[in-house]
């Protein structure tokens, strides 16, 4: 209300109210509360779950049937799903055996790969957020570093492997380095964008409060850029998992990548297919984990 009512207007408003006919009240019967039985509610939950689960399950079933039909015929180069299941049943039911060397259950291969990814990705996250902050905050750092980053990030992950093998003279650190160098670029770039996009308002608040550099970094910058940082972290984890398989094929030893390569060399095509299923599932889980952490940390403001 920007213009207060004048007295005459107010008087008029009062008169209008008085002259209106007396309100006639009528008692409306309330509708009875609809009883929702437990069974109905359960079926409601069940319905929602079914809506999520049924369509992919159906599509999967159709795909398996088509695959089975195609590969059943004589002369097929790839085994049908039934053969895959029969061939790899031992690997599926006993993922924990360890007969020394690289003759181990799938659990050990996957866990070796995951450890490499965890280490490389953790290093990339720390270095990526730090460098991204630097590039996002300092005009001169951006001018100096950004062109170099833009060139380096286009180098395919595997192209770094020979160089890192030459530097480290050992497969393990080389694989970790490849993960690091693969995951770091999207983390740097997204962090820098997030820092650069911190609204001027937040900077003003920090200025009025006279926050020092550390307080500004911890209390304003990181939380404000968190949605962007997590976008980078999510792309990074996806790329790490993509790169590890290829890197392990080349460095050998225990790991899901070399397991696949070894299976190919021994013509165990079924084992390759089983490994691919595991790689896909674990990649999916890793992505969901980072997304869940992002939702938790940013209170749902990060895009899912």
């Amino acid at each position: 209300m920007t213009r207060p009512m004048t007295k005459s207007e107010a008087a008029q408003a009062v008169r209008v109210t008085v002259s209106s006919p007396p309100a006639t009240a009528q008692v409306l019967p309330l509708a009875p509360v609809r009883q929702v039985s437990f069974a109905t509610r359960l079926s409601g939950v069940g319905g929602r779950v079914a809506a999520r689960v049924l369509p992919p399950a159906l599509v999967l079933a159709v795909c398996l049937l088509v695959w089975e039909a195609l590969c059943r015929r004589s002369g097929a180069t790839l085994p049908p799903p039934s053969t895959v299941l029969r061939d790899t049943w031992e690997l599926i039911v006993d993922p924990f055996f360890d007969r020394g060397g690289i003759d181990k259950g799938l659990f050990w291969h996957l866990s070796a790969s995951l450890q490499r990814v965890a280490l490389g990705y953790a290093l990339a996250s720390m270095a990526g957020v730090a460098l991204g902050t630097l590039v996002g905050q300092s005009m001169w750092a951006m001018r100096g570093l950004d062109p170099i980053f833009q060139v380096l990030r286009t180098v395919p992950p595997l192209a770094w492997l020979p160089l890192s093998l030459a530097a480290f003279r050992n497969g393990q650190p080389s694989a970790i380095f490849v993960i690091f160098i693969t995951a770091i670029w999207p983390i740097i770039i997204n962090t820098a964008v997030g820092i650069r996009n911190i609204p001027q308002d937040y900077r003003n608040v920090a200025a009025v409060l006279r926050l020092n550099h550390l307080e500004f970094f911890l209390k304003i910058m990181i939380p404000a850029a968190a949605p962007y940082i997590f976008t980078g972290l999510r792309i990074g984890i996806g790329l790490s998992w993509l790169a590890i398989v290829a890197a392990e094929m080349l460095i050998g030893g225990v790991g899901i990548g070399f397991f696949i390569w070894d299976a190919w060399n021994s013509s165990h095509i079924s084992e390759i297919i089983l490994a691919l299923v595991y790689v896909g599932l674990i990649g999916f889980v890793l992505d969901r984990i980072v997304a869940a952490v992002a939702t938790f940390v940013t209170h749902g403001t990060a895009a899912n």
């Binding site: 209300m1 207060p4 107010a10 200025a207 009025v208 939380p223």
Partner: protein, 264 residues
């Protein structure tokens, strides 16, 4: 003679490459302790720039600002700002937004417990104690502005700077908040400098209204003393001849002598 807050021959020129735009020209204004001063003018006249100069967020090109006789050219909690768009940090709760300011300003002077009590005290002042655990996204625009006000008040500023604090609110919420600000000013006796483009708001709240000419090179066109007794009541004022005369003066200034000519 030293005034409480003195804006002394302030000029501001923005330079973009070779192009120079003079926004403010020779602004001189003194504000006494406890005074409520509004700055009114058409949009683009540099009101906000002036407020930012006082806040220390924008450096003045010429002249300077003195607070209790000392020059202030950097932002600080002694000149707390309530921003137009509330500027609450969305990842903090209502309580934590105010607490951040309290912790920073009173780190050495108050204990943990006192800081908590002071935070709650200021939230209660603006009637937002009930929403302490909500995040800014979960409360209405008027409530956000209240929290912004609580955050500024919690710094115990020497001057409270309000940058069109009610501009983004609907008329009813605005009236409600104006009443709250009036009550708080009465109670706490803050020195307030407020930017507004609402004539009624300026007359209702202020002791003095500073009218600015249109930019570029905006100056102080006229200063009007609002000689209305406090506490003021919105409805009683509607019939007060002094109120109407003040309103008339500001309207005449804004719409006759300094009509806003929009670039075609």
């Amino acid at each position: 003679m030293t005034a409480y807050l003195q804006i002394d021959h302030v000029g501001k020129t923005f330079a973009r490459g070779a192009q120079r735009t003079e926004v403010l020209c020779d602004i001189t204004l003194t504000i006494e302790k406890g005074e409520y001063v509004s700055i009114i003018g058409h949009s683009g006249c540099g009101k906000s720039t002036l407020l930012n100069v006082v806040a220390g967020l924008t450096p003045a090109t010429l002249g300077g600002v003195l607070l209790e006789g000392r020059e202030v050219d950097e932002p600080g909690p002694d000149r707390a700002v309530v921003f137009q768009n509330h500027s609450l940090l969305p990842w903090l709760t209502v309580y934590d937004n105010v607490r951040l300011a309290v912790d920073k300003v009173f780190a050495a002077r108050k204990s943990r417990l006192e800081r908590h009590a002071w935070t709650m005290h200021n939230l209660d002042l603006v009637q937002m104690g009930h929403a302490r655990d909500k995040r800014p996204a979960e409360i209405s625009g008027g409530m956000k502005q209240r929290v912004g006000l609580a955050r500024a008040l919690a710094m115990e500023p020497k001057v409270l700077l309000l940058d069109e604090p009610f501009g983004a609110l609907d008329a009813l919420t605005r009236a409600h908040l104006q009443d709250s600000v009036m009550v708080l000013h009465q109670k706490l006796g803050n020195t307030v400098l407020m930017i507004t483009h609402d004539v009624d708001e300026a007359v209702l709240l202020s002791d003095r209204i500073v009218m600015m000419t249109n930019g570029p090179s905006a100056r102080i066109g006229e200063v009007l003393e609002v000689l209305l007794a406090r506490p003021r009541q919105r409805l009683e004022l509607a019939a007060s001849p002094t109120y109407l005369k003040c309103r008339q003066r500001v309207l005449e200034f804004l719409y006759e002598r300094h009509r806003f000519i929009e670039a075609a």
